[in-house]
Symmetry: C2
Subunit: 385 residues, 2 copies
Amino acid sequence: MANYFSSSFTLGILGGGQLGKMMGYETRKYDIKTHVLDPSDQAPFRIACDYFEQGDLMDFDTVYNFGKKVDVLTFEIESVNVDALEKLEEEGKKVYPSAKTLRNIQDKGVQKNFYKNNSIPTAPFLVFKDKFQLTEAIVRKEVTLPFVWKSCTGGYDGKGVSVIRTEEDMIPLPEVACIAEKLIPFKNELAVIVARNVSGEVKTYPVVEMEFHPEANQVEYVICPARISDNVAAKARAVAEKVSEAFKHVGLLAVELFQTEDNEIIVNEVAPRPHNSGHYSIEASYCNQFEQHIRAILDLPLGNTQNKVGGIMVNLVGAEGHTGEVVYKNIERIMAMDGVTPHIYGKKQTRPFRKMGHVTIVDESIDKAREVAERVKGLIEVVSK
Amino acid sequence: MANYFSSSFTLGILGGGQLGKMMGYETRKYDIKTHVLDPSDQAPFRIACDYFEQGDLMDFDTVYNFGKKVDVLTFEIESVNVDALEKLEEEGKKVYPSAKTLRNIQDKGVQKNFYKNNSIPTAPFLVFKDKFQLTEAIVRKEVTLPFVWKSCTGGYDGKGVSVIRTEEDMIPLPEVACIAEKLIPFKNELAVIVARNVSGEVKTYPVVEMEFHPEANQVEYVICPARISDNVAAKARAVAEKVSEAFKHVGLLAVELFQTEDNEIIVNEVAPRPHNSGHYSIEASYCNQFEQHIRAILDLPLGNTQNKVGGIMVNLVGAEGHTGEVVYKNIERIMAMDGVTPHIYGKKQTRPFRKMGHVTIVDESIDKAREVAERVKGLIEVVSK
C-alpha cells in the first residue's frame, strides 16, 4: 500500500466548495497532502488545503495540468472536463471516480439510458436533442402531459427540472437537450449512499428519507434511518447496490430513489461523490461519508456505515429578501439544544435560497431528533446584516 | 452576542500543535477566523488557520503584539508569556482562560498551594526554591524517601517528574525549583474535563480512566466511561467541579485525579485547555472537547458532554530505535476494524516516544472497544522509512 500519511503523496480535488471543505477535515485528520482547483478565490476549502489553484473546472488544459501534478485525482462536483480526466487516465493517472463513470452520469439522457440498458428500475422517459424535438413529440402524442422535464446537463439542486402540466409550462423552458420523464406519484423520496473502493469492497449506508414541506414542495429534513418498513428499506438498499454494481464506480455513489404509491423502488438519479443526503453522517455514523470517500479512492478498507445515533439534517439556505453579508440569526439558541451541530460553509455573502450551511440533529431516538429538528427549523434564519 | 460566524471576528490561538490543529476542525466547521502563533514553521495547525505567525510563545513582545490583533485570545499550551496576557487583559482584551488562571497553574508549587488554600484534596507536599534546599530538607528528615519529585515549571508528558526512592535517584535531578510530594499508592488514575463558559455555565464530561501497561509504567489506554463504581465516579466529578469552581476558569479544565487504595479522590494536576484525556470525545461524545472549548471561550451555550458510544484512546508515539521520516506501519489493518479512527498529527519526522498521533476506538460496549483497542495496540507501529 502507498504511504498516504504525512508523506509526499498528493490527492487532487476538483472543486473546493462545501463538499470539498468537509472532505478537507478528513484529509487533515490523516495528514494527506491536498491540491484543490476551484473557479472561486473564495472557495470554502481554500485555507485547509496544501495548494490552491483558481481555475475553470470545465477547461481541458486547466484540469489536465492540475491533474498532472497529483497522484490521485477526485472531484466534489460533476461539472468538470471529462476529456481531461480521460486523457489523464490514458497516461496512467489514477482518477476516481473514473471518467467513464462520470460520462454515464453527467448527461441525464445518457444516465437514463444506462439504467434502461442495465435493467435498473426508473421512470419511463424519452430523450430529445432540443426543445423543438420535444414539442414535436408532444404534438405527435409521443409525450403526453403531465410529464417531468429535465435538462440533460447542468442541472442540480432542483435547477434544470420542472413539471410540465400545461402547454404554457413549456414556454419558459430553455432550448437545450432534455428528457421527458413520466410523472410517477411517489410516497417517499429516499436515498442510499454506496461506497466502493478500488479493490471492489462495497458498503452501503442506511436508507435516508427526505421529508418535504407540506405546502412548499421543498426538502425540509433528511432523516437517517428512514421511517419506512424493513421491507422497503431492504428493497431500496438492494436497488442502490445494483446501481453501484452496474457503474462499478470507485468512491461514493449517492443513489436518489422514489418509493412509489405501490411500494416499488425506482431510481431518480445518482451523484458519484459525497452528497447532501449524507451530511448527517458526520455526527451520526461511525465513519462519515467524507472519510469513506477518501478511504474508497485510496483503496483503504471501508469504514463502518452504521449509525451511532439517529441523525437528521436541515439545510441552511439564504432567506428570501436578504442579500449581502451573512448573519446566522438565533444560531446560539439552536446551539443550546442537545445534539445540535451547525455547519457553516464559509460563504460571506448570502442570497435567497443560497446553500450557506446545514444543521445536524442527533439523538438515540429519531423521533426525539425530529422534534428538535422542527424547533431548529423554526428558530434559525440566514439573513443579511 | 457577537457575530462569530463568517465574520471579521478573529480568534487568536497561542500554539499550533496537535491540540490547536484539532481545535482548528471546529473553527473551520463554524467558519471562525483564526490567527495562530507557534515557534515552528511546521506547526500542524498552520495550514487550516487564516493567518499564521512563527514566533516564541514565551517572548513578551511577540505574544503581546500577536494578541493586539485578535478579538479573543486563547492557548493550547501553558508555556506562554503570562505577563503579556496580563497586559492585554489590562487593556481590555478578552483572554480565556485568564492570565490569573494560568498563573495559578503554570508553576506546580503555586498550583499545589492553590489546592491547599482552597481545601482541595491533594497529596501532601513541600515546595523548594532549588535542589540544595530539597537536599537539606531530606537531611533534616522534613522530607523522607520515597517521594515524588516534580519540577515547578516546564514539566509535561511525564517530563519533570520522578519518583525518588534512594539518595542515588537524586543525582540526575536538575538544579530547579521543585516540589516534593508524598508518594501515595493509587488504584486508578482518572481524569475529568470540566467546561465553563464566560457566563459561568458549567458542564462536566464523564470520568475517564487511564489504564497502565502492567510492566512499563506508561498509560496504554484512556477509557471513557471509566470502569469504576458510580460512587467513585460521582466523587471524582464532584472533586473536579470543586476545582473548576475554585479556579473560575473560562474554557476547559482537565483535572487529573488519583483514586487511592481507600477510594479517596485526590487531585494530581490540572490543564486549562483541551487535553489528551479528552481526545476520545471527537468520536464518542455529542460535543467534543475542542468544540466545547470554542463554545466556552466565545460564551456560546455549552454542548452535550455525554457519550454517544463508549470510547478508548491509544496514543501513537514514535517507536524506539526509529528516527526520521515517519511511516505508520499497519495503519490500513487497523482501519479495517469497525469503529477505529487514527488521527495523524502531521509531524513528518518521528523520534522515539514522540507523540505522532492517536487512535480512537468506539463501540456501544466499552468492553468490546477495549478488546479492539488491544488489537490496535498490537498492530500499529510508528517507524521511520
